[in-house]
């Protein structure tokens, strides 16, 4: 009996063992993957939750927020805050919601101003910093490395230090409350941009340039027709980074450009601060306006994010 059973059993167990042996690595992989996905999902939730909470606050009724509601969906969901941020809500609606502000945010004017300021800064920085970076990377001139070291030290100076001297300079130039005044300190260069591009340019092989020189190309021509096209990715990255930094800039535009015609979005959000000494800021419309102000940057990142990641990977190739 046992003889007859044993052979029939062995193949079965063997098969099962073989099956499990074959299946095990697959199943292990699956568990690992599931774990990895779970961790990633968790991290994603942790990262995105504040943004969700911002959205939730933006869509809530201000009065409901005060009651301390902890629900995951917006309490008393309403679009009024968005309307108020865009200047589309009537005074009665706002008064009824208890979210009156002293000043108007003028959203679309501020948006236009932000776009003008950021575009000017980005264009200026990319052009001038790429030239400077190329000079530091390739041209030989006395004291080059010392000057570059000076640049690097400039990166370590907190912007607050230069705030007052810059303000006095811009004031004496008569550029207060003008776009050139807001753009001025960032237009020509920032040490970071020069440093960032120089590192990329150093990585471009000299042979290519030497070949161009043999063909009779001058420095300017090499820069324009060789270096720039080869560095499209890092230039895009720098442009996006510059744009985002410029968009989020608050202190400088507040100090030199806090008047109706030139006020940028970050400064315009001040309209939602405390209206009178004893009244707290209207949080819900403030969140709505902040969300709307962040939206263009989020869109920009969605469109160009992949290219940026590529560019950062590109830097590793050298």
């Amino acid at each position: 009996m046992s003889d007859t059973i044993a052979p029939s059993q062995t193949p079965a167990t063997e098969r099962a063992a073989a099956k499990s042996a074959r299946a095990r690595p697959k199943r292990d992989l699956n568990w690992g993957r599931i774990g990895a996905w779970a961790v990633m999902g968790l991290l994603l939730i942790i990262t995105l939750f504040p943004f969700y909470w911002m959205l939730r606050t933006a869509l809530s009724t201000n009065a409901e927020l005060v009651k301390g509601s902890q629900t995951i969906t917006p309490p008393g969901a309403t679009l009024l805050n968005l309307k108020q941020a865009l200047g589309l809500a009537s005074a009665q609606e706002i008064a009824a919601a208890g979210t009156e502000t002293s000043a108007d945010i003028n959203f679309f004017v501020a948006l236009r101003n932000s776009v003008i300021v950021c575009t000017l800064i980005t264009i200026g920085q990319v052009i001038f910093c790429s030239m400077a970076a190329y000079a530091f990377a390739r041209l030989k001139f006395p004291g080059r490395d010392k000057i570059f070291f000076l640049y690097l030290t400039a990166m370590m100076i907190p912007p607050v230090f230069t705030l007052i001297p810059n303000f006095v300079l811009v004031k004496n130039l008569g550029l207060l409350n003008t776009f050139p005044g807001i753009v001025a300190p960032y237009f020509l260069m920032t040490p970071f941009a020069v440093f960032f591009l120089r590192q990329f340019f150093l990585g471009i092989s000299r042979e290519v340039e030497e070949a161009a020189i043999l063909d009779g190309a001058g420095r300017w021509r090499i820069f324009r027709q060789l270096i720039i096209p080869m560095s499209a990715a890092p230039l895009t990255t720098l442009a996006v980074l510059t744009y985002i930094t410029a968009w989020n800039e608050y202190m400088w535009p507040l100090v030199v450009g806090d008047s109706d015609g030139v006020r940028v979005l970050t400064v315009a959000l001040n309209a939602f601060r405390q209206g009178t000494p004893t009244i707290a800021p209207p949080w819900a419309p403030l969140m709505s306006a902040t969300l709307l102000a962040a939206l263009p940057i989020i869109l920009l990142f969605l469109v160009l994010g992949r290219r940026m990641v590529d560019a950062i990977g590109f830097s590793g190739i050298k």
Binding site: N62, A63, S102, L120, F179, Q274, G275, T276, T278, I279
Partner: protein, 450 residues
Amino acid sequence: MRAGISLRFLLAAVATTMAATLAACGGGEQASGGPVTIRYSLWESRQQPPYQKCANLFQKQNPGIRIQLEVTGWNDYWGALPRGFIGDTAPDVITDHLAKYPQFAQSEVIMPLNRFAERDGVRANIYQPGLAQLWQTPSGQRFGFPKDWDTVAIISNGGMLQKAGLSKQQLDNASWNPKDGGTFEKIAARLSVDKKGVRGDQPGFDPANVAVYGLGLDPGSLTYGQTTWAGFARSLGFELLDKNPWGRAYHYDDPRFMATIGWWRHMIEKGYMPPVSDARTLGQTAMFQGGKIAMAIDGDWTLATYTTTKGVKVGFSPQPRGPEGRWSLYNGLADSIWTGTKHPQEAWKWVKFLASPACQNIVGDSAVVFPAIPEATQRAVAAHKKNGVDVSAFTSYLKDKHTILFPITEQAPQINLMMQPTLEKILLGSEQPDVLKSVNDQVNNLLKYH
């Protein structure tokens, strides 16, 4: 080649944008000839309509002058002004505050008005008693003519009083002392409800889980306690300064003051008053409107915000009676002229108009704030009455002469930087009221050695 084009394109883009920008800026600066524009700044949007009416009337009388009103929120307002003073972009005429003007006067960014007033025979004795003297320095320089005044009162939610079995009359007649809080603390306790529905005066009340606090808290300006301790401490006979205005010594170390601030902390610990953090982020008015507090101590300038609370009968009662009666801080605003204005004569004309019955009556009729001229005050009271709001709680202190003039000294911003955090820490429980002894010495040294 592609790169060449894109670079050229970029350069062209820069050039066009710059040109467009410069053109836009040039357009803004074309202002010569025609009427003189006087920029006038204020921080409260509710006051814009009455002052716009004043401006319209003024422009009719003075065709050569245009008034441009600029409204920014309180927080932003005091940040933007110094930037404007330094950057030469400040408004010609500013709404000024008693806590801020001594510093401005000292920095010579606002003008003494004496020579204008003497020339035009403008007198400072037409206002509610006491207000005008606050705008004059010890050397006799005047930096403003009073435009309005304010006091504070207890604002209550009628429905919550009723549910607690209390009447507004009981609140009107409430008494207070720092030892057991008097009937006022009993009312606040009764009005407090925890999340299980237990009231503050019942056994088992949980101060850590409160649904409705009996009394709100405005931790924004603890230094002078306008909407907190000022009236309470005065009802014990406490005086903050050795003399006011322009005192040389503060009395934060007075046992009566320490007892008052100690009572405040006791109210928070008992759960009858919200913790400082909640009170700050949510704000007293929003908590009242959201039904998180049953009573608030607030000034008449926020009156309209409270009365618009949906479905709530809002009542106003004077502050509770202490051993020396009922008291309120008495603050007032005025208009000052920036020294950098290009049109001082026109600016003065506007300031003179703002300080005159013609404008103050308009402001009174609008029932937003109480104007400084008694007759205009009466018009404001009548206008409120017409709206169904009884403001006698706010005016009662004037009748009894129980108003505390806003404390004015030099170094006010620096003193605020020391006192506000200290008092907050006491309310948070991380410091004992005893600390006031040493902090008061620091405050007085600041006055002595500067």
